[in-house]
């Protein structure tokens, strides 16, 4: 994965490099072309100069009429030469080409202008040459300058590209950080993003619309749970208070009292059911706060402390080992307490006299883990599959339990990104594992 900014900068750099490479590849050709044209122009100029000179002073100073020898001259570095001699033919020459000349045992390439002159009925051949070495030398100079310039150009544009794209992509980063900040507890439909890029403005608009919809859905869901709670709990509350008043009146016979108590218990079960289902709904729609830092071992100790009298009464030994404490951030203490309490309580309840419940907190392959093992009657695989399904377990014979406890446990675990695993063997016992989220260790 690569950042957009890096990608853009890389693309720009690559395209510039390709362009520069092409340019550099063709550069010698181009320079040669330009140079040759320039040289040719100079050669023609020189020719005109020579012709002018000849028409001024005549041909004699250059050519002696009695000897066949012509005139020839090089400058010191042999970069240029000029020659004028009689021609035996009457052909008309006027062209420029590259010719090799051997001068002082040295082969030199020249760009040579050939030109035929006719003066007083005589034909002359004028040659003006310029050494190609000097031309290529000049070309190399030019090329070096261009290379340095190109290098600088690429560097400077790369830097400016980087800063500019960073600047231009800033709204995108802002949008991402905004999205990251939203959680189930705060769907801030913030003010529109300030940007001059239309694409970002559009993206921002679409996202804000989406957030608004989600937040509406959430508040609707919240309202529904609040309303259900209100509608169901108000009559339950009336009944409860009335039954309690009847019980407190004191002038009822014991049988009626026991009947009232039983009604209260039934009412309580109704209340627990409604509350549990509302609780799961609230957990699933993230209506609970998660703002505490909670020491998990401390909670486990509290849980075992609470259950100790019950375990003692049932002659169940509860052992607790805490290898390391682990503080979970962004957690809800009372929910985590319920989660652990449910499981430890189940273990204690389902372990026969003389049995053991062993709780272990510690780090396991980089994760914090709490395990609760009992020597109870265990569960069949079919039972295990339905363990976290609501109402899959029947209330036990004493009428306790609603079969929703473990569904709540699972919901609380999900709410905190805690993974649960259960191993069970009929007749041997059950093991619950809580795996706490990796990143928070």
């Amino acid at each position: 994965m690569m950042k957009l900014q890096t990608k853009l900068a890389l693309f720009n750099l690559l395209s510039k490099l390709v362009f520069s490479a092409l340019f550099i590849g063709f550069l010698p050709l181009i320079i040669e072309r330009i140079n040759v044209r320039q040289t040719d122009k100079e050669l023609v100029n020189k020719r005109e100069e020579v012709i002018g000179l000849i028409s001024e002073v005549g041909i004699e100073p250059f050519i002696h009429s009695d000897t066949a020898a012509g005139f020839g001259s090089y400058n010191i570095l042999k970069e240029e030469y000029i020659s004028l001699e009689r021609s035996s033919t009457d052909d008309e020459w006027n062209y420029i080409d590259i010719t090799q000349r051997i001068i002082d045992d040295e082969v030199i390439d020249y760009r040579v202008l050939h030109y035929s002159l006719k003066i007083d009925g005589e034909s002359y051949l004028l040659e003006i040459g310029m050494s190609l070495a000097s031309i290529t030398y000049a070309a190399r100079n030019i090329r070096n300058v261009i290379l340095i310039f190109l290098g600088l150009f690429i560097l400077v544009t790369l830097l400016s590209d980087l800063t500019y794209t960073a600047q231009i992509l800033r709204p995108l980063r802002k949008i991402t950080s905004r999205l990251r900040k939203t959680s189930f507890s705060s769907f801030d439909v913030t003010e529109p993003l300030v940007t001059s890029t239309e694409d970002f403005a559009r993206l921002d608009r679409a996202l804000r619309e989406m957030m608004k919809k989600i937040s509406e859905l959430f508040s609707k869901e919240k309202e529904i749970t609040v309303n259900i709670s209100h509608e169901l709990m108000t009559p339950v509350s009336v009944l409860r208070s009335r039954l309690e008043n009847m019980l407190l009146n004191g002038n009822t016979d014991p049988a009626t009292e026991a009947g009232i108590e039983e009604s209260l218990r039934t009412l309580h079960r109704l209340k627990v059911l409604v509350n549990s289902m509302l609780m799961i709904a609230r957990l699933e729609s993230h209506q609970y706060l998660k703002e505490e830092s909670v020491g998990i071992c401390d909670i486990v100790k509290e849980v075992t402390g609470e259950l100790e009298p019950i375990a003692e009464d049932g002659k169940v030994t509860v052992t607790l080992t805490c290898e390391t404490n682990f503080t979970m951030k962004n957690a809800n203490r009372s929910l985590l307490f319920s989660m652990l309490y449910n499981v430890v309580n189940n273990a204690v309840q389902h372990t026969p006299e003389g049995g053991m419940v062993d709780i272990h907190c510690g780090e396991n392959s980089g994760r914090f883990e709490v395990s609760v093992s009992d020597t109870g009657k265990g569960m069949s695989p079919e039972h295990l599959d339905r363990l976290f399904t609501r109402f899959s377990t029947r209330p036990d014979k004493s009428g306790n339990g609603t079969g929703i406890g473990l569904a709540i446990t699972k919901s609380i675990a999900d709410f905190h990104d805690i993974a649960i695993r259960v191993l069970s063997e009929p007749g041997k016992g059950t093991q619950f594992f809580f795996f706490f989220p990796l990143n928070s260790l």
Partner: protein, 227 residues
């Protein structure tokens, strides 16, 4: 003490009033927010039991109004809405306590007593239980000069029975008081029996405690009638 019951469900308001009158409170009722607002402005109450789900009023506004008028009245929110924020908001606004419906009348009584103690900074009187004395401020149960070693939960249980003495409390009510609403689904009638059994064992090591009675099939009661 003067109590205003703000509750749109008339039958519930009646039951609460019936209970509180028996505990020697003076009770008035308001079934709408407007009625409540007027009554709070005119009369002096010690307590307002406030239902948040009023048809014509946001119950929290009643607290705001009262606080603005520097009223000294204590609010106990009773609500069936069960929204997590209600509790936080209510307590933030200066409500003294929060009871989710359905609550036990005995629990309401205990909360009122606790708020009163906090508010007037009065030390609650020690409670005599047979040969034992419950020191409510230091949270100790004494037998003469000797302290009966009770766990926190055991003391809470006994104290709850003591302030509701001569009333039968069901195991549920006791459980709910000690473990609150979050562990409701884990209710086990055995829990309270075990704790009471342990308390009795500790008491009997010093002296017999016939005042801690079992109401067969119903629950438990501290009886001070025959002392």
């Amino acid at each position: 003490m003067n109590v205003l019951i703000v509750e749109d469900e008339k039958s519930l308001a009646n039951e609460i009033a019936l209970f509180l009158k028996r505990e020697n409170f003076l009770c008035e009722m308001a079934h709408t927010g407007r009625e409540a607002s007027e009554k709070i402005a005119v009369n002096l109450y010690d307590f307002v039991l406030l239902d948040l789900g009023l048809p014509d009023y946001n119950g929290l506004d009643l607290i705001r109004e009262a606080k603005k008028n520097n009223s000294d009245v204590s609010f106990i929110i009773i609500t069936a809405r069960g929204a997590v924020e209600d509790r936080v908001k209510g307590l933030d606004l200066g409500a003294d306590d929060y009871l989710p419906k359905p609550f036990a009348l005995a629990e309401l009584h205990a909360r009122i007593m606790a708020v009163t103690r906090r508010k007037f900074r009065i030390s609650s009187p020690d409670i005599a239980l047979g040969d034992f004395v419950m020191k409510t401020d230091s949270r100790k149960l004494m037998y003469g000069q000797k302290e009966v070693e009770l766990t926190r939960k055991e003391f809470d249980l006994l104290y709850y029975l003591a302030i509701n003495r001569n009333k039968v409390l069901t195991r549920h009510q006791l459980y709910e008081h000690i473990w609150g609403n979050t562990l409701d689904d884990q209710y086990d009638s055995n829990f309270i029996d075990v704790h009471i059994k342990n308390i009795r064992k500790k008491l009997n090591a010093h002296a017999p405690a016939p005042w801690l009675e079992t109401a067969r099939g119903v629950g438990y009661r501290i009886s001070t009638d025959n002392q």
